[in-house]
Subunit: 384 residues, 4 copies
């Protein structure tokens, strides 16, 4: 159970993506965060890396990291590229060519030509080049794929995928820099909403059906005038196994929060899954009733089994709720060490008093239950 060594480029202090990758890579204790070039501002990146425990493997830029790591016997086993989109190609290419495995944030490149080059390098070198379409990691998405592959719904006729939200619907907010860059061709290329969100739905259509998209036709619109790129698109497509596809993506769909969902219809069954409620997969075998497959139920596929961490019925995020008790305690302990008051918003962990009250309630329930439901004091004696 020796951990693999993991490095990251990008994901500097204050970024959202950095913690997400650290959490993801660390969750199962399979990787150890070992090296990084975390910020385009060299010194900030080094300082932050040191604070995260990287020591002298906190680098000022990715070139330094590459040249230093490739000389080491204990070089990192995997490099995650989480820099701005336009730099993905160059960095991914360089690390692959120097013998590293890479996990690149999406989009892998800005052009098709660059993409082909990366594929060729990955193939030539034999190094792993993964791309972070993380939604395919859900246990029941993997089970859908396994069900389709083993023929549970027969030949796939049609896929209908969606990724529709309303978070960029406010015209008054369209020139806010936080939103505007997403519709700026100089920064995101030829497509906005489809490239940002729709592509997740399209990848999932391929992932689940095991078929690749061969051709497509799109209706793209900008509902907010100042945008030159689309904020809503409908894409019809065809797949190499014969499936027909429909895909809707939108960022102006007020009332929709996330909206990544997929429906797959085959000759002998249909499946439906939505990211907002990822623990249920709706399945109807032809001629039977709609049934609900639960994440974690017995006898799912190996693909599902190895990607679930909590028992059936729990929200998949239960470990994160659980972790919050630990973050409360970390704050409580640290505050004591530092001689300060703790953050009141963290002062919520259950205490010995709660454990005691529970025990008193258990005894009262048991006794009342035996005595025809009489009312009993449920408090521990010391709190009466």
């Amino acid at each position: 159970m020796k951990k693999l060594k993991w490095g990251m480029i990008g994901g500097g202090e204050g970024s959202q993506i950095g913690p997400a990758h650290r959490l993801g890579s660390g969750l199962d204790s399979l990787f150890e965060f070992t090296a990084g070039a975390l910020d385009h501002r060299s010194q900030e990146g080094i300082d932050y890396g040191k604070r995260l425990g990287l020591g002298d493997r906190a680098y000022g830029d990715w070139q330094d990291m590459l040249s230093a790591e490739k000389k080491r016997d204990d070089r990192v086993d995997l490099v995650t590229v989480a820099t701005p989109n336009s730099t993905h190609f160059e960095i991914t290419k360089a690390f692959l060519e120097n013998g590293f495995h890479v996990l690149c944030e999406k989009p892998m490149t800005m052009t098709v030509e660059e993409g082909e080059e990366i594929v060729k390098i990955a193939r030539t070198t034999g190094n792993i080049c993964a791309v972070n379409y993380g939604y395919t990691g859900y246990s029941l998405v993997r089970h859908m794929k396994a069900m389709v592959a083993r023929g549970d719904i027969g030949k796939v006729r049609l896929v209908n995928a969606e990724f529709a939200h309303g978070h960029h619907a406010d015209a008054a907010d369209a020139n806010n820099p936080r939103v505007r860059w997403r519709y700026d061709p100089a920064q995101v290329g030829v497509s906005a909403q489809f490239a940002d969100c729709g592509i997740h739905a399209m990848h999932m259509a391929s992932f689940v059906t095991g078929q690749e998209v061969t051709k497509l036709a799109a209706d793209t619109v900008s509902c907010i005038d100042v945008r030159t790129l689309e904020d809503d698109a409908m894409v019809n497509f065809r797949m190499d196994g014969g499936a027909v596809g429909r895909l809707w993506t939108s960022s102006i769909a007020i009332g929709r929060q996330h909206g990544l969902s997929i429906q797959v219809f085959g000759e002998t069954g249909g499946l439906r899954w939505s990211q907002e409620h990822p623990n249920q997969l709706y399945y109807m075998p032809l001629g039977e009733r709609l049934q609900i497959i639960e994440r974690g139920e017995a006898n799912l596929s190996p693909e599902a089994d190895r990607t679930t961490r909590v028992t059936i019925g729990h929200a998949e995020g239960m470990p994160l709720a659980f972790a919050n008790i630990y973050t409360d305690l970390a704050e409580a302990i640290t505050a004591r060490k530092e001689g300060r008051d703790m953050d009141p918003a963290a002062n919520l962990y259950p205490r010995a008093e709660d454990g005691l009250r529970s025990m008193a309630a258990v005894y009262a329930v048991a006794e009342s239950g035996k005595k025809d439901g009489i009312w009993l004091d449920a408090r521990p004696p010391m709190f009466r």
Copy 2:
């Protein structure tokens, strides 16, 4: 950002609770797993601890751990007690008395008297004694508490809590050891389903309302004959702030998966939350419409903000899906290192080819969108 040192007692190889605590404690990189007495079989515990990287702080039993750790300057900051229920009291007591902070699995003790003793020790020593009612860690549960505390629903009139599942409904399975022990007074004490599940719902009622239970009346039944303890209970209760409570818990409710939910009704509003869909909190202000509060939305309470890790609309378990890409990659890399084929069920991470295909699709969408929706080849040239 120096990590705190964390130790665990119990949670040996093959247990479910051990990985859950390691995941929970490690999630935010606040704790480092430093010491442990993981198994009642001394050597197995030491071996397993060493494999988990504990070195010479892998102990053969909790007594050894206690005496060794208390002599160290760098002693563990927090000890989690995850041993069989009947040993919680003794271990928790010993560590508290020797100056350690403790997180004890539920139930904290087997009797009220023991519970009172723990409370007194915690108060006398000033050490933290937390109990693991982990469901209170959900971001929106904390927000419910904050809303009630700041008066959003006025004085609380009534709480209705449930924890009803159907996993012990099969009479033919009742003598299966995996199920039977849960209804054996020798092992679980005076109550089965209420002590195991119902108590979570009751604690949550207290947590959310900020009121303690003062008295109760219970109707307990054993729907399966061989059981001497209850598998279904209805508990009516009263709280010290005047709230009326109803609580239903069951393990024979076929069709229910988990069923922890809570409804709180006040003078000026009502709230409803369910663990199976933890990202939505239903709120109706008196005289207005039912509205849906989403985890991660803007302007929630500090209690909610500090306990959420992914943006609005994502399932709270999204980081775990994301982590599955990393576990795939760990398997892929390790298999290469070990010169073996990788687990096919892990061979599902998105590849450079997927990144390339996505880019080709993006360009096709953009072009089709500009050209009145004509059909275009969506494949990268190298795959045509």
Copy 3:
């Protein structure tokens, strides 16, 4: 297909219950509204009855109606009693004793003694005395009953019924006469919320399980101070076939709209149904998956088949939506007859222009579909 003759007592102009009974009795064209004593104000009742087409069988009070009808050869076949609660006993008794079949609004009587008298009279005379627990008329409720009766869930262990709403939660509104009378012992007797709503849930528990309640224990509370009768109750009960029951009813549950629901758990399966979404019945056979039974699906029970009027997937209220087109047309036609403008809120029926536009769209879809999805004018020529 000669219609039966139907009479009503009560349900005068402006009442809610009158139109409901007229609609219900007339829906399948099985009854003809023939006679009535609709109002305690004699002349108003006669006038209103005449306007409803009753002619000289519009009576001034129920005594007149009884004495006149019993002399006729073509007397009414069924009398509905929809008067204030306290008069149900007297009227029902009189009609039964004179040879009429009766459908009495709930509650049938104000006391148990009166109830026993009615039962005895019904048995002695052999006349039908029905009570209007109308929720048992839902197709899938009847199917639940049939499933339980034929053993689909085995011996019933537990029933959990609810009828919880929040429409009387406003303390400021508690003395509003529209609400207050419901909690006034002088008008409603010994119980408010349980007698008004909870009793529907309890009747449904009996209806579905085929078991009668033998004993019960209740926790009743008045959450609003001015009330002497309960606005929230939890009732535990036992049934003569061995089932355990739980029943929660509330009128202060802010955020709940109607909340009549029932869960039945047996030895080999569980069922769940809710009045707010009456077209789906959730069913889990022990050890299998939760499945969704749809109203109108093939091969349901005869009890379900004869009580459904629209095909699967339609809301059960579809005929009422459909009827609204007719009410629009009635208003349009009547306005023309009366030489006035029609109600603009009714001026919404689809017109020839809509039929024409639809046809143009159909042709455009067919042609575009054949021509690789080109854009086509979808308007009829005359509207271009």
Copy 4:
């Protein structure tokens, strides 16, 4: 309150559409079924009409009906045309030209040219020609229209409509006559699924937004080989008020039951409604939370208020459930008259015994509630 006179052409014995129209027209007692030519088999139609009470206004064909009715002073006020599609044009035209108001089943005609002719006749004669897009009759659909019209969501940017079911997904069943005719150009014209179902969704898009479709582009496919017409279509469209439209319709979407739904997104809000749960309308004002509008709530639009018949929280189909009690009673009474056993599937109406048991339960609840929740016998004395 004199009823209008209503006539029907088509809808003969055993048809589904006939009873639906009789129910719809009769529901509010605004129309009286007065005349009809119900069957293309002359004598069968006359016999059936007589059994339905039409007397000598039961005609053998529509020509007879037309010539007889137009001579009467008390001619029918409205004629419903519910014959096979290909005859709609001819009949509708004839009645309109002779001074009758007409409600024509959908599709109004088989060609655009015929459609234009009908529109012209309707305009010239001034007679009402309505088309039965009945789904627009739902109360909350009308409220959506009112909300959009009064500006609640600002200028409409996008409409997304669906009508997707899976009832024609079985390839083995495709040649079954019950299904096959729906895909036969000789019988249905140029389009199958779009013309049958999709058109409802498109009409609803126009109805709700108040905008007409100007152009469209379609992707139509036949997922089952033997079909020459489409069983799945995606239609993009534009509307005359600037709205963009997307519409998906399918008959091979296994797992979907009915699937008529509509989402409307404007500059300042979004709306979502689904026919399968027609009592809830989801509304998000820009920058606020998703809220749930309930059919029947206070202060809705006049358009909504006049089209709802039951109070908030009830399923819209509640009156139909209620009516089932009456159909039970009709069967019970008729069976007695005819001296036969009643249909056991109808023998389910609540009886005096149920009314009595309810009263006993009410008293027991009230007493137990007063006496600290003691258990009491809940049975009426006569049943103990």
